[in-house]
Amino acid sequence: MIEFGHFSLALAWILALVGTVGGMALGLSRQARLSHVEVLRRVTVAVAACLGCSLVGLGYAFVTNDYSVQYVWQYSNRDMPWIYKVTAIWGGMDGSMLLWCFLVAGFGALVARASLSYPRPLLPFLFGFLNTSPLFFTTITLFFTNPFRYLKAPMAMPDGNGLNPLLQNEYMAIHPPTLYLGFTGLAIPYAFCMAALASGQLSNDWVRLTRRWTLIAWTFLTAGIVLGGHWAYLELGWGGFWAWDPVENASFLPWLTATAFLHSFMVQERKGMLKLWNIFLVTLTYALTVFGTFLTRSGIVQSVHAFASTDIGWTFLAYLAVIFISALGLVALRRRELAPERAIASVFSREAVFLLNNLVLLSICFAVLWGVMFPVFSEAFTGQKQTVGIPFFNAVNVPLFLALVFLMGIGPGIAWRRAGLRQVARSFAVPFVGALLVAIAVTWSGITEFYPVLAYAISFFVVLSILAEAQRGLAAQAGATGSPAASPRAAVALFRRHRVKYGAHIIHFGVVVMTVAITASMAHKIEREFTIAPGETFMVGRFGLRLQEFHEETLKNYESVQAHVALVSAKDGSLIEVLAPELRFYPKNKETTTEVALRMGQREDVYLVLAGVDETGSKASFKIFINPLQVWLWYGAIIMVLGGIIVAVPAPRRVPAAQLGASRVAETA
């Protein structure tokens, strides 16, 4: 099977080359035979099929413990449960690149399958550009990071090295593929954009066709980023979920720019404005996904999430140069057709708010990128590598994020084209007063720091704006149909009629929930370190922690020490739960990991880490974090993803009544 996997990879590379070159050549000709376009479409699907076969070949080698393959030997061993043998496919760089190839080609194949209804003149270049990403990544995989290489050893290896213990976690089964689906899906808007530029088909078609693919990718990227945060929260034992680590940032950068163009697409579709800006955003987003891959695999920055450093960085830089130069060339070629059809009529308009939203998102993107690259720049200019840490990122990004959340409340409540001042004042009076009252109440309760108070007030402002918008929609619907304004049926009817709009409101509501959770967990977090002996109690917040006993265990894959700690109420000493933080030692990897004991609650998380046990086994050191409203961060993310799904899923086609009747007759017959 390993040879078959290798063969399939090579075949995929050849087909991606044919797809790219053939697509470009056909696009450059004055006319194309339909049969040739169809062959190109099939080639695009076949690339994904071959890469699927290749991935199956590698997976088979893992599951059957084929240690003649270097990659399998390096990232698995016989004692690992089968699920981790499967996840080990993307546990190292070589396999993760193969997965990347498959997913990017898979998206291309899905677009190719859906392309029968697309404008035909767009197709040759579309297939050409859809194949460029698989071509680049299969080139890297086949020639530089081939996971099918045999192990150079004098004798057959009886067992493998084993997967990094930190990656032996169920989240690794879902987090990387979800994140990669987000990254690779963003190659689709880029392919559409370049195809539209190259073919001159610059009507709104490419924007309209791209939006759903972008939303799908964006939803996966959102889910992937949050799953990564959840994995870090559970597995790394530092009590947080986001540390502005370079690799975390690398996933966040394209999310920011993709969010920006999801908004500015609407302006182009409705007003014929921001055409050039959208091309810039789409290209930048794709370039940032490639840059993220480069960052993770080049060894240029240090990160707990990075793969081992390699010398393939130059290939990514060369590809990034090709992306930007080709985009610039095509924009120069089509510059006349990209002129805006009108200007923004008023600053009090939704398009102006969307533009402001884009500028804030780009500012955050630039700040994060600057922070990520600062060590590289500082070393280049001063000879000394200097890093910027969490304080820098928080100082710059917290105000920008709050501005972004505020704009989320403004945008939907303001009219397209031009809104009167009186209407603006009327739309936002209630949300503004509500936010002011929240700010006063929060300050009254003893929270006096500026940003937390502002964050709670802005969050409430957005929630009220969403509710006010829904209320106005219900009233307008009632006026038009004569039905009662406030009834569940009316709300459902309104939601179904404006599914995309209210789906976006759900996403915004998810962001608000996350904002509140992040603010609470950052601003009101309690963090303590303590050492206690069995029978002793340590008091923290409204809890007490009483060490009961130690429990040692030797399993197939690791040895563990568990501390059983009773979590009791500080008020009356009653038992709430027994927590069992754990230290694990993996002999094959010679690594120790901490397994956090977590009590998730709606009000707060109790997060207990066993830091160490003294040599005599009579005392243990712990770290405890009380994280207020932490669980709401994950709820907010779920709400966002649900909103993304609602917006991305196509509306059911309305079948005319006559046709429906005819089909029913046919069914009966």
């Binding site: 099977m1 390993i2 040879e3 078959f4 063969f7 399939s8 075949l11 087909l15 056909l26 000709s29 004055r30 006319q31 194309a32 035979r33 339909l34 049969s35 376009v37 169809e38 062959v39 099939r42 080639v43 076949a46 099929a49 071959c50 076969c53 404008p119 035909r120 003149p121 197709l123 040759p124 073919s199 001159g200 088909q201 009507s203 709104n204 078609d205 579709e269 409705r270 007003k271 014929g272 059809e341 409540g413 303001i414 009219a415 397209w416 084209r417 031009r418 809104a419 009167g420 009186r422 209407q423 009327r426 739309s427 918008e469 106005r472 929609g473 009233a475 307008a476 006026g479 038009a480």
Partner: protein, 95 residues
Amino acid sequence: MSMWIVAAAALSGVLAYLFVKPLFEPALGGVVVLSEQDSLRSLLDTKERLLRSLKDLELDHSTGKVSDEDYQGARRDLSLEVGRVLSEIQSHGGR
């Protein structure tokens, strides 16, 4: 013969068949003109955009985001523009 060679040959054979098949299908004998600038397509695009703007304007007015005065002015401008684009589309033979 190794199993993998059989599998590789089968995969290659299936793909070759799928690639060659469209070349002999009569339904795919036509051509697509790629270099033609489609001005009708562009006009239809503008019409679609203007109609969408009208719909947005109606919605914004019904939800109280636009004053009656602004609504009347904007509606008149958009309607005139839609009329102009529709007559251009008709002159291109479109609907």
